[in-house]
Subunit: 382 residues, 2 copies
Amino acid sequence: MSAAGSQFLKAPNSTLDESAPSALAARVRSAVHVIGAGLLGASVGLGLRERGVDVTLEDQSPTTVALAADYGAGRLRTAQDPEPALVVVATPPDVTADVIERALTTYPNAVVTDVASVKLAPYLELLRRGLDLKNYVGSHPMAGRERGGAIMARADLFVARPWVICRDHETPAEALALVEDVALDLGATPLEMTPEEHDRSVGLVSHLPQVISSLLAARLIPASEQAVGLAGAGLRDTTRIASSDPELWVQILGANRAPVVDLLDAFGKDLASFADALRDPEQTGAKRRIADLLSSGNRGVARIPGKHGSSERFTSIMVLIDDTPGQLGRLLTELGELGINMEDLRLEHSPGAQIGFAEIAVLPEVAERAVTDLVERGWRTL
Amino acid sequence: MSAAGSQFLKAPNSTLDESAPSALAARVRSAVHVIGAGLLGASVGLGLRERGVDVTLEDQSPTTVALAADYGAGRLRTAQDPEPALVVVATPPDVTADVIERALTTYPNAVVTDVASVKLAPYLELLRRGLDLKNYVGSHPMAGRERGGAIMARADLFVARPWVICRDHETPAEALALVEDVALDLGATPLEMTPEEHDRSVGLVSHLPQVISSLLAARLIPASEQAVGLAGAGLRDTTRIASSDPELWVQILGANRAPVVDLLDAFGKDLASFADALRDPEQTGAKRRIADLLSSGNRGVARIPGKHGSSERFTSIMVLIDDTPGQLGRLLTELGELGINMEDLRLEHSPGAQIGFAEIAVLPEVAERAVTDLVERGWRTL
């Protein structure tokens, strides 16, 4: 089954067509109220306003909300504004539950959603407080940028991203539809999950890789200059996300402790078993365990969906490129002229070098022709 | 200090200038003999022959050596050939020591080098066998491809890559110079290290990331389709090298057991400490430990040299691109026209989407102008 399978609620938008009618604008007459005017909140505001939806903004910090309003993400609420039909909570994870409670209380007829990256903890906290949650629908757009703040906000931040929606058993269809419309209006692909499924899933595909990458990168601190000088694409790829914002990740990991701790424990067990096998390869089954883990890695990575939600694998072509502006551009333009669609592209550099390689992934059936045609045009392929 | 600092033996070649005189051809009158006609051996042969050096080939498998010879990597040795001045051993790691011993015995006046990715184990094994090692100079070009075999060989496989050379205290200057010349002739950058330094260094920057990436990818095998459907660039980056050849890695890890086991143990300790802090964040110092690890990841990743051997960081620009052939090419051509040099490029896709983002790294001082100019030309930046 492909990732585009049954869990999609509606067909996703594939382009940012601003002229398409906004489902949300048709459904709600009042403004959408966004609480928290950082990267996500301001991006929701910008995106909805582009679709013709009226957006009001609120933030703990008067400076932040003024900045987001100046930026075009929405306007401040006035005493004349009627109760909003929809409230989007986009605050840091550690205050999400408090802000949701306040929104449910202040606007008892509004549907309230949030965009926090962990879904079970705030939900359980709201249940514990005895709140009526029929108007609350948690959600999580799988989008972000390395730096936060309204100034980094973009109307198209959510385009072509999964947007997970966690409905309660009590959630009325209209409330769910409102949150789906937000996702669709912003160009995202709504997916339905339970809070538990969501948290376990992001624990595995996002939180575990973050911790592992940070642990790996941290081991480079005491390394010699000589050692890091031998670094290649493998180390760069595995440690890239280790440059993420520590403050945000402290909150995310704290809010998803149980699944992440389980995943870390399981990872630690696998690691210890592998290290033991390597330490004493003559013990029974040790060599088998080493080979099995490496093969399992092959099979695991093959499960990650590619560009179009499929698991199909592509063929890589390596092309030598000089380090001059426009060389890669010419290469890709020529690929376009040859009618060859590039499925992925990666650049590889070496320390001290003025030359590099472009690794181009193409469908296996066009790979041979691509190489022949490129070589004919004077490119050097590897 | 940059990676282009003191450990460079000579200035590296920055382009593949085949018309430049070959230092090696001037130094040796006889053929260079390559034992092992797989990816690395055949690439050495192809590269040296392009520089006008006579190359003879040998392989355990008659089919393999015939293929490599047909491919242009060299010719078979005949009884009329004089003793070679240089022998390059390019066999799988598990037979490297045996083949080096045989080469030293068969050609007592030749300098013998090897290209195995682990350097201490074969060296100690040769010492243990009581061989005179004045003619042996171990080396390791930091180059490879995901698939092996002579058919994958390329003359320019080593261009702009570090080539580590491990000299013995007894190594005469002429023997060292010969191996340096091989590296330089093939476009690589020779670096000098002890076998211990080399093995610890590649353990850290190559073998540890390989095991960690395989462990991470292996955890995806039991995951739900739903969970892997949420995968983003972070998971893809951290697990990319998990698709490497298991058979080769069994040998590499086996040959570098001690440093890799130490690194895995240290990683496991860091992991357990982090998991404990997250399990019980109220214990003394737990919150501090969580935040410290994430910050250490930031500092560690900043130590990895960038494109030109420096540690300087670039500014990223995200540009929205349609999934049509040539769109990315046009973007990069326009960057070239604008005189903006791209330091790195990464593509990001979403499952189910026909739209993606190009993340372009540029020098911080040109980032603002790049965005302005691109937007002016109709590109959508994030």
